[in-house]
Symmetry: C2
Subunit: 441 residues, 2 copies
């Protein structure tokens, strides 16, 4: 396993995008602040469980072993994740970035016996009944994931599936359920204990949106045949790369600092422009990470103020025909991050036909040429943009990528002076939901 992610930020600098950009000096001047950022973060011990996940290779190996044993029974064909938010987005990001784009349509042989993966992360009734209709319940494992063990949507879907399973396989339903939740607390833990259901513990103080490298994300990935050990090794590499206190050498630090500086300049929208279909779900995962971590109300001695860049996901080249008009000609309120891969690992050559531009070219070539063209156009139009570049897409690189963004988000929280690990406002919705449900029952 070699190669590392590269972060290229030259197009956020004013020498490239004029007054919409930042000066290199401004970045360098954040060096002292960055040392403080790192120190502050280290003090938040109660939230730093995510920094220890890459070290847990033993657990990854155990999960792999456990999963292989089940696969070798040939009993199962489907794996359904029942979760929402941080208990679903990482699972999907792993699957979409590392497996065949039409994985669930492949035959069992083509999947080498690994399971199809479905993620049920809503309580839309039609989505639920739709899924029930197309999977054979007897051949399905359900992974019920909720850190607190109390998440409404997760419990509702679980209750429904448990009921259906019991009708199908009676007492054996327990063999088809895996619970991933807090080690001690909550309803799901209680059920796991009472019913003796196989379970994984979510480490204490691990926020949902930082949990993809814990059993929350790893178990479903392993059931879909993804090498989760390499994933952790990649993350470990990123821990190492970002251990330096030198801001200019620390890619996660630079990413956070640049986003912070540009937000101060009125760029309240942060676009994650995925140049590969495989990255699109990662952009969605990032959307939660960035929004929930940084979208905060801050109370100071002089009053309250609100803060938080809004993350957007977009897909290249597709969105060149949908969003780029706005990004190019619209207001200067955006910073764009290209999520790119150097080698897509697939060469498909166009035949000769009477389109001189295209004849004989490879799809890969055209794809990357359009990406480069988009980058140039954005730069010419003074839209600051940067690139997170993977040499190729594999578990080792995706592991790096997840950790890179997690750490960048934690740093950004410190730069913005908000707590990147809580989500107080969501409680308001829960309160209203509770009131409404109780008053009408």
């Amino acid at each position: 396993m070699t190669g590392t992610i590269q972060f290229n930020y030259e197009n956020v600098l004013s020498e490239k995008v004029g007054k919409e950009g930042i000066e290199l000096e401004e970045l360098k001047n954040l060096q002292k602040r960055f040392v403080q950022v790192k120190k502050n973060l280290l003090r938040k011990k109660e939230y730093l469980a995510f920094t220890h996940l890459p070290d847990n290779l033993t657990q990854a190996r155990e999960i792999k072993k456990f999963v292989k044993k089940i696969r070798d029974t040939h009993r199962f064909d489907n794996f359904v994740v029942i979760g929402i938010g941080g208990s679903a987005l990482g699972n999907r990001a792993l699957q979409d970035s590392l497996n065949h784009p039409y994985w669930n349509f492949l035959s069992k042989e083509e999947r080498k016996g690994w399971l199809r993966l479905f993620v049920l992360d809503n309580i839309d009734p039609q989505e639920f009944s739709g899924l029930v209709r197309i999977i054979d319940l007897k051949k399905t494992i359900f992974n019920v994931i909720s850190k607190s063990g109390e998440t409404t949507e997760c419990l509702a879907n679980f209750a429904l599936f448990k009921d259906l399973l019991k009708k199908k396989v009676r007492n054996k339903w327990r063999e088809q359920v895996i619970i991933t939740t807090d080690e001690k607390k909550g309803y799901l833990r209680k059920i796991a204990n009472e019913e003796k259901i196989f379970s994984y513990a979510v480490p204490e103080n691990l926020g949902g949106r930082y949990s993809v490298l814990s059993p929350v994300g790893l178990v479903s990935a392993a059931f879909a045949g993804i090498d989760i050990e390499k994933l952790l090794l990649g993350a470990k590499e990123m821990v190492k790369i970002c251990s330096t206190d030198e801001l200019m050498d620390n890619p996660a630090g630079l990413y956070a600092a640049i986003q912070y500086l540009l937000y101060q300049r009125g760029k309240n929208i942060s676009v994650m422009l995925a140049y590969s279909n495989r990255f699109y779900s990662i952009a969605d995962w990032y959307r939660q990470l960035w929004a929930e971590s940084l979208g905060k109300e801050v109370t100071t001695s002089t009053g309250k103020y609100s803060i938080g860049p809004t993350p957007i996901k977009a897909l290249g080249v597709t969105d060149q025909h949908s969003q780029l008009q706005l990004y190019l000609d619209g207001p200067k309120d955006k910073v764009v991050t290209f999520l790119s891969v150097r080698d897509s690992g697939e060469e498909i050559f166009l035949p000769q036909f009477n389109q001189n531009n295209l004849s004989g070219k490879s799809l890969n070539k055209i794809f990357h040429t359009e990406e480069e063209a988009t980058r140039r156009a954005l730069t010419e139009k003074q839209c600051p943009n940067c690139v997170v570049l993977l040499p190729e897409i594999n578990p080792y690189m995706i592991g790096q990528l997840f950790y890179f963004f997690e750490l960048a988000t934690a740093y950004a929280g410190e730069f913005f002076q908000v707590n990147p690990f809580d989500q107080p406002a969501v409680e308001l919705i829960k309160k209203y939901t509770k009131n409404l449900l109780e008053n009408e029952s």
Copy 2:
């Protein structure tokens, strides 16, 4: 067919959201301006092809007849749309809103012989080869869609599939291709003529993002068994509803006026929050419509300025666990549109279990309660929000919805004083792509 979409905007008013909202008087004061907006629009005859589409019931009936004939041969199982932007987003929006959520997993019988639908709207090499792997080429119809007949991505994918088809079925490949393009001009029209390939004409002066109710969107929908006649009838109903010059009675006018007023107040982000998985692709379709139409650079006698709200798609209840923290506590830079349905047409009751809140409740009930709770929380946090409410989801209502947003976008263009029908900046990317491809060949 009865029932109409309702537009509820009380939560954008200052009486509900304080200083972040608008006064009812401000809206009413736009009455005179609105009459002018409608007049200006009427003068843009060369762009108004989309307003005539709902009348074309004859063509819809012809398409239905043609499609039924092909279905009854039982020769085909898959329908692949090869298009991008406006030649893909509407197709997907129709399919996802009106068919089974796991349609492509259903058996042919369950689909009543209608075809599975795939939309290839990128040139990511792995996406292409992935699709090739899972479809039986002999059983697949390809609909190549490009208004200009010259779109790079579309031509590239078509060239590749044509090559593969020829190897499989030799001269018969023509029977498996439908071309949808300009009536007279462009490469695709030339190919259709030379090779005698069945084709549909895209009406003159119809912009891609306004084309879902033309053959661009209708053909693939008909092959997937969607009643496209009802779709047009719904749109026709919306034409009627919005024919009034009275702003306060014209829902599309109100939608445009409200978005316009709130943008002036610094709400540069317009969130389409879909409360049903079935609406999520419509939010994506809207994203193109809104962004490409309004994201513009305006040149005046005193200089240039940029304009354009940034549309975002989000999904309820899922994104309550991802984006709502930011929407609630973050900066007051957003207006939220709920896309809602009163009756999801599906009642699934939870079993009794020791979660008092949930026991015995229907999924539908919990879903809508959370939606209401989110609306209250947003309102309490002074985030202006409105609701586009469908009594139920069916082709008649979705037809109304498409036309509602198209017209609202055209009105908004006039309010913002930009041309909502062009997309000049996208040419810049095309220019760079062309240069790069030519210089390296």
